[in-house]
């Protein structure tokens, strides 16, 4: 009996020594939560890191009419690395910064052009950062981007960040890319990484496209920051930034992103505009969904890949006027042919852009070729990623125009 008590006391004594010196128990009150990180190029080869810190005091239920602009603050600091920047910001915030709820990582175009693998490896090495946070390449300064990131539809920025990527589901102008996606594509031997393109839209436009509002081509050629929206929300996310290994080599605009989504079987719903077969001056809007997965047939001819793609989409007609007659199968067939040729030209344009201009296989077509090789060394010798620029393409689109929506014939 005595033995038990002595042993118990000894254990408590030893544990107290261990615990009191070693453990610092921190609770949720001791942390300030960073919701976004921005990485810019500072002067003289050092970084300019911005942290968007959520302030939670105005979120209480009592203050119903709180000003949403005050729900987060952006702190920018120049340092030689992300961790040094964290330490510097920690010196003047009262709470310790926690990256556990970081939603997006914004990297400026300048840094992306110089290679971002160092920063990514550092970020992946941190266990706090969720691999599901999104990567955005920004065409403007990151602190500007973060400061403008707010909406009058959501009260705090985290919700805004969570929702804004879902626009990809119904516009098709961008795609949701997470840190783990990007990182795994960077390490992959049969794909190249790509990222979301974002920017801030300034009101004073010197863009010549602003005058030709009605040109439908212009709308489809937009990338982030170039659209002619006038709104309180300034941040735009549209288009894709294309990388070769860890360096940014180009951008894709809206219609090219739609082609990318169709080819990678990630399209949920998008709208395209084709010239009307019945009247040259008119346009028809179609809502596209994917009918079947795109089939690829890739052969290696004389060391060069010959890539054939078979695309199948379903379309429904959005535009109606007083002469629309879509119960006639000939009319539907004509629309289908026009859509096929339109999509084929856009997809071919996309293919040659990624292959010849960028030499970046962001679709990951290498995975269809790798089954032809038996050992790893053979595959590495073939060097698919550099061979991609020698590729030839052939596209076949099969559209099935189903009908309009509520009106079938007027």
């Amino acid at each position: 009996m005595v033995k038990k008590y002595i042993a118990f006391a000894l254990i408590i004594f030893v544990l107290t020594i261990f615990i009191s010196k070693e453990i610092r128990i921190t609770t949720i009150d001791d942390y300030a939560y960073v919701v976004a990180i921005g990485i810019d190029a500072g002067e003289e080869n050092i970084l300019k890191v911005s942290f968007q810190i959520a302030s939670t005091s105005e979120n209480s239920s009592d203050s119903g009419g709180a000003d949403s602009a005050a729900t987060s603050t952006v702190s920018t600091v120049e340092a030689s690395s992300i961790d040094n920047a964290l330490t510097l910001v920690n010196t003047y915030t009262s709470k310790e910064l926690s990256l556990a709820h970081c939603k997006i990582i914004v990297i400026s175009e300048e840094i992306a052009n110089g290679g971002i693998s160092d920063y990514l490896y550092t970020l992946i090495n941190k266990m706090e950062i969720s691999p599901k946070c999104n990567i955005i390449i920004s065409k403007v300064d990151c602190d500007n981007f973060l400061k403008q990131a707010s909406s009058n539809l959501e009260k705090n920025s985290t919700r805004y960040y969570e929702i804004i990527e879902t626009t990809a589901n119904y516009t098709g102008y961008t795609e949701t890319i997470t840190l783990s996606d990007f990182f795994s594509k960077m390490e992959d031997t049969f794909a190249q990484p790509y990222s979301i393109l974002g920017s801030v839209n300034t009101d004073d436009k010197t863009n010549e496209d602003a005058s030709t509002l009605s040109n439908s081509e212009t709308e489809k050629n937009v990338k982030a920051g170039e659209s002619n929206i006038k709104s309180k929300n300034k941040v735009e996310i549209a288009g894709i930034a294309v990388f070769n290994a860890d360096t940014m080599v180009g951008e894709l605009n809206a219609i090219e992103t739609i082609c990318h989504l169709i080819l990678s079987n990630k399209l949920e719903n998008c709208k395209i505009t084709i010239p009307s077969p019945f009247d040259n001056s008119e346009k028809i809007d179609l809502s596209l969904t994917q009918k079947k997965n795109t089939k690829f047939d890739i052969k290696i001819l004389n060391g060069s890949p010959y890539i054939k793609a078979n695309v199948k989409v379903n379309a429904r007609i959005l535009t109606m006027n007083k002469d629309s007659d879509y119960l006639n199968s000939d009319n539907l067939k004509e629309i289908e042919e026009y859509t096929n040729s339109y999509l084929e030209s856009q997809i071919l344009n996309y293919f040659y852009k990624t292959s010849k201009e960028f030499n970046s296989d962001i679709l990951g077509l290498g995975k269809y070729v790798v089954s032809d090789f038996t050992t790893w060394n053979d595959w590495v010798e073939f060097d698919w990623l550099n061979n991609y620029e020698n590729s030839f393409f052939d596209v076949n689109v099969d559209t099935n125009v189903k009908s309009g929506y509520l009106l079938l014939e007027t």
């Binding site: 005595v2 033995k3 453990i23 128990i25 609770t27 949720i28 939560y33 239920s61 926690s98 709820h101």
Partner: protein
Amino acid sequence: MEKFKNFVKQLFSYTSKKKYEFDLNESPLENNNEDNFQNGLPPLEDTSESIFNSLHVNLEYVKSKYNFLINSDIKIREFHLTARNKQYSAFLLYIDGLVDSNSINHFILDPLMLKNKANTFDNAEDVVSTAISNNISVKRIKKFDLTDYIYNTLIPQNDVKKVENFEDVFNDINTGSCALFIDTLNIAFLSEVKKYDKRGISASQNETVIRGSQESFIENLRTNTSLIRRLVNNENLVIESTSVGTITKTKCAICYINNLTNQDLVAEVKYRINNLSIDYLISSGQLEQLIIDNPTSSLPQLIATERPDKAAHYLLEGRVLVIVNGSPYTLIMPGTFFDFMSSTEDSNLNYKFSNLLKFIRLLGLIISLLLPGLYMAITNFHQELIPTELLFSIVASRNNVPFPILFELLLMELSLELVREAGIRVPFPLGQTISIIGGLILSDAAVSANIVSPILIIIVAITGLSSFALPDFSLSFHVRISRFIYIFLGYLGGFLGIAVGLFIHVAVLCNLQSFGISYLAPYVPVSRKRGNEYFIKPFWKKEKRIDALNTQRVRKEEDISIKWKQEF
């Protein structure tokens, strides 16, 4: 120096503790040909014997059938019956507690034993016819039939019948009749003398059900045994009587079904109860603490119930029931963890409703045990687990609270315990006031005064509600104690601390044994022939008894128990 030596020796020497070992699974089953009966139930014993002529044989037969030597409420009254001035040996057989003693005394024993006009012989003969020839008269006398004589004249009872086989005798005895056996007669007289307490017995206050019976045990031992007798209704139910305590000599009854229960279990129960040297025993709770395997554990190891239907159900499953005079709570042994999670309602309702209720109880157990600990662990170590919006609202609501989370949580838990304890002792008119004070003032005002955060109130309230969902009183006590340990473990070690607590908790549960069966039977150790899973099957599919009990009769239903549905 010697003292120091002894101290060091005591500290570092090892003496193995003699562990009291009793395991039900060691004894082989006696009826191993149970498996041969694929479809049918094994037959019960044959009781269609006819009554013998000799009283002595009848007496011996009846004594063996009813286990007279060990059964304490089976009464046999031997006496001499007077009929026509002749004396015949006879005996009365009845069950104490089910019969009206006054009726027996006045209307059976009195006319039979005492000499009165009816049973004295007046020398009159029953002459049928007379023939006279040659001065010799030959009378034809009707033969004296003792049976008719007694039946017609000597038993002034309103409901008497004559039976010729023991099956009828036993059936009626079990329901409260009294049987009269007479030497030289191969029939018995059964008279209806039923009297037992009905509906004076009140409804159970602590174990309420909606569709079950509304009777509960009372303090009187004989009334309680009669309640059990009525429900079980079989002669193999044995109720042995012993006494505990040198001063009070409190009567205890040990009940079991003779050809069903494992005899080792019965012997163990009797051994433990008969080997207690205490001065007095007042309640069954004290007896429970004296006979369980592990009295230092806070887990309940015997089922305590005040419902006779629950007690009869467990008796018929092969367990042993102990009733203590003066206490309405009876003890059922052995008890497993999953028994404490089930209520009597489960077998009365459709199995789907019962399974839903069982699922909710399981959820209640997990929430009441782990929710505050998990909250501490997540807010201290694993903030990334909480969705961002929720995290911000928690932080915002805690902005003005000056205390750390641990202090807040302990404060609220302790005040909840205080309210609970006060609620038991408060006089009835003040009951409502206490709930208003507890609910409104404590929680609402505390939030407005920024002493605690609203999210914590919700957590503590949900925890308290879940602990009331547990059907067993003792188990909820155990959960209340463990909850505080989990709070500290979660605070100190996050999920590592919670895992330590969970693992040691599970180890304690696995280590516990209750009267020879594992506490987590039938899941651990795994047995193929289970009979008592947590999620119950429909009543018509519960075919086997629990395997760990090693009962003598394993099957309780045929494969197809609903015979009317079977096609011919």
